[in-house]
Symmetry: C2
Subunit: 217 residues, 2 copies
DNA sequence: CATAATATTGTTTAAGTTAAAATTAATAGT
DNA sequence: ACTATTAATTTTAACTTAAACAATATTATG
């Protein structure tokens, strides 16, 4: 019987994990909840409660958490003790930006290929030498997924008109988790089971800022 | 005494608003909470409660909400009855993608310029004919903001190393709202007052998917 | 035309979730 | 041994969502 962890908590855990990575502390040193507050913006109370809730009670009074242990625990929770391969559908600006996102490496996430329909893109490669990824035609998607059955995740950066049908196709071909970046709320077909979908358009944060700024009084 | 509206609610209001835009219904027709559930994914209960909470009691039993009225109310809440000008700092892939984000127009948001330091970018323009935006050198930022004092919002898409110092500079020059897309939690300097900041890295959603997919059982 | 059935809102209530605060206990340093 | 710091835990409060239901307008039916 596993405890349910909400996506909010997961987001904070991500912060802790990335903070640890960036601080690059020696493994046998300690980090306190205060310090974590300083670098992540999450209050030290929240940090401790998260750890408590997650069963990470490895802290030492007056010192904090042993970096080595904490790393291990966080990795376990984030399910990054194994690697994940992902593909990107849509090789436009956002797709390309995602394909070069360097923090994915720290999370054991590998982008293996991009897909598009534009002639001038298909057949080219993208990325720095040594980590180049091919841009393939989307017609080859099914074959590609059959040859790479360990790919279960796709990032969807196609125009909104094509988004829903592409999602349906992806699910049909065995993809189980999708992040949709198109400005449209997509739906998982009712008959599909155990599919994870997040709609995450890059514009929405700006809307929030506009609201916060101009709604005052 | 204005009621506080959380960002969650604002996000849903955005959904409703954009759904209305996309459905493009005649102004004198009605839309029900059920229909809104269908297109936005927000439950009809939630829709009604949002409207109730926000004081939008314009529904008609058995019909729904008059499109024209609903539009007006949503616009008022989202503070898009006036226009907002924004600049983009960093003219890389994400910056460029944002500058072309077509839904901003529907929200009365205008990107007026991008800033960067790369020689090959500075001096060029970006965007479709008729809505081209210049890429300026970041050294001209202060002057630009002095000449355009109505610009209060910036989108920050610079590399993470430069993110915090750029934020500080922006605030120093009068910017009041920032969305940071770099994979780093930025902080508003303590002495700054009434600054709105959202950290919204495009990678985090993928982390959540990885977690949801691989943490099962 | 009257009446019943139905769909839909407005509102309230309850449940669930999340975050903050307070308390207790342990430990290191002096 | 004393003090200050920090984690672990509990409690409390705040926020968010879901559910329930009465009220009412529209449509259907005899």
């Amino acid at each position: 019987m596993k405890k349910k962890i909400s996506l909010r908590v997961i987001r904070r855990i991500s912060f802790y994990y990335e903070a640890l990575l960036k601080l690059n502390l020696p493994e046998n040193t300690y980090i306190s909840s205060r310090k974590l507050e300083e670098v992540t913006g999450v209050s030290c109370n929240q940090v401790r409660q998260d750890f408590f809730y997650l069963g990470i009670s490895i802290g030492k009074q007056k010192k904090g958490y042993l970096v080595k242990k904490l790393f291990k625990e966080l990795k376990k929770i984030l399910s990054i003790d194994h690697s994940s391969k992902v593909i990107i559908i849509g090789a436009g600006r956002i797709g390309q930006a995602l394909s070069n996102y360097k923090l994915f490496k720290d999370r054991n996430i590998m982008v293996t290929a991009l897909f598009d329909i534009k002639k001038e893109l298909v057949g080219t490669e993208i990325g720095k030498p040594g980590q180049k990824k091919p841009i393939l035609h989307i017609d080859g998607l099914e074959t590609y997924l059959m040859e790479n059955p360990d790919i279960k995740i796709a990032l969807l950066t196609v125009p909104e008109e094509a988004a829903q049908e592409t999602l349906d196709k992806l699910i049909g071909h065995g993809i189980r988790g999708v992040v949709n970046f198109a400005p449209k709320i997509l739906k998982v077909p009712k008959e599909a089971r155990d599919i994870q979908l997040i709609n995450d358009c890059i514009g929405t944060s700006l809307y929030k800022i506009v609201y916060q700024l101009y709604s005052k009084k």
